[in-house]
Subunit: 309 residues, 2 copies
Amino acid sequence: MTGQPFAALVDWGTSNLRLWLTDSHGEIIAERQSAEGMGTLERDAYPAVLEGHLSALAAPSDLPVVVAGMAGARTGWKEAPYVETPAPLIGLFQHAVRPEGASRTVYILPGVCQRAGGAYDVMRGEETQLAGALEQGLDTALFCLPGTHSKWALVEGGHVRRFSTVMTGELFQLISRQSILRLSVPEESDAEADPEIFDAAVSQALQPGFALTASLFSIRAEGLLSSGEKMNAAARLSGMLIGAEVAAIRDDLVRYGKAYIIGTGKLTRLYARAIGIAGGEAVMLDGGLLVRRGLLASALSLFDHEFKD
Amino acid sequence: MTGQPFAALVDWGTSNLRLWLTDSHGEIIAERQSAEGMGTLERDAYPAVLEGHLSALAAPSDLPVVVAGMAGARTGWKEAPYVETPAPLIGLFQHAVRPEGASRTVYILPGVCQRAGGAYDVMRGEETQLAGALEQGLDTALFCLPGTHSKWALVEGGHVRRFSTVMTGELFQLISRQSILRLSVPEESDAEADPEIFDAAVSQALQPGFALTASLFSIRAEGLLSSGEKMNAAARLSGMLIGAEVAAIRDDLVRYGKAYIIGTGKLTRLYARAIGIAGGEAVMLDGGLLVRRGLLASALSLFDHEFKD
């Protein structure tokens, strides 16, 4: 049993948008998904796209909306300036902005940025997933968010203390499809098909002194020098890249003992293997559920005075 | 004063060929250069291309030829199997092969491969430059050969002991032109224009625990977060990549104190800076001269009994 629609919650990323109507407990009443991501939209197109999805779900005309993600980028609907680390996840809503052109109450949540020590970094959308994890009690933990640009975030006492974006997924695509290694990595290859090769490459990348750029070409050379069956080069490349990524946060992994992986599918399973090889425990969390929880927490703070206590 | 043509020396790479007629002392009588590299040629096209260049230089019809480089690859004119490390540079000619279809004496020199410890690697052409360096007395030294795929080679007692191919140049192109960082690196940017930024990035990459893939995105994020003048992102990216490459051979650099850079132009100057920052001395060598010396040494062993002493 779900109750009355309380708000529309929107995860509006670069490539996709996901929208949920939920009640005040976060139960889903209806949902939509589309490829109308920030990357495809002009600034003045946002209100009509949003209203189109809301009317398709017969949402009340005064239902308020909370948005997370790239819709709040400088090149999105309206810029929601970044909150700087250490960034309190509980208070994101206080920095939300109200975009122009909306015929109803709409808030866009801010992203988080990091300048400390010259380790510049930005996130938009992931902070709302982290806020969702906070809602389920994870106020101090190491998080891994795999993707084209994966992110690792250290949350302490409900604050994003520091984080790092790693271009592993994009590098895998560029190297396997466009560099000389494309000659060794078949188009349809599956990095998960040879766990032993993947695991060995992760172990190699975790060795002290491992040099990624000086090791990549060995994948091509091994193919040239071996006369027998072909090694699964995709598994090896993926293992080297994910292993190098895990090596970079290994101190945190040792300290916390576990990493919470936010996501779904094959990529998260590869990260879980790599975290295990590095001596950590991997715990899987559902990214869609977390972003809804984070959005709902902000919606409750922004819109509701009845349910808050 | 040059003497009679003694041999035609050919550096036949993937993208280009360079051909010299020299006397038995290596003095250049005439030379040719063209884009008819291995990458553009079918196997049966090689004899006509070679004869075309030789007849343009009015070379005697019985003048012998020695070739180094990718013409000896499996996909070239005729495969000259690799000599495995530790590979004696003085005896490369003993492993030369004679290709089909030539109307004169033609030898193609072998490349060098490495299998030791699973550090698979291959070179074709560079070994002949190293043989040329040996001719000028460098029988024990660390060499750096910058390029799309740069190589570092440790030569001890006239043998290629071990070597490593690093995809720095290709990665720079892919990352700066096709990854998300393309938005931060202008097309026409010059990594040499901001030596301070390049040097700082090299120093960063030389720090213990530097993680390249976890650091690249900071270039994009810094651009997003800085309101003022744009940083030279090309200098930063280049410094990180070359710095990571030098970090991987730093132990050798410390042991030998210097690295001999084989090449010309801007890229060699950037490598020289990075080697200096890592505490080594960089000495520049002319790659064209070295390959001729290496080819001539093989030609003298293969063809000549009068001039040898």
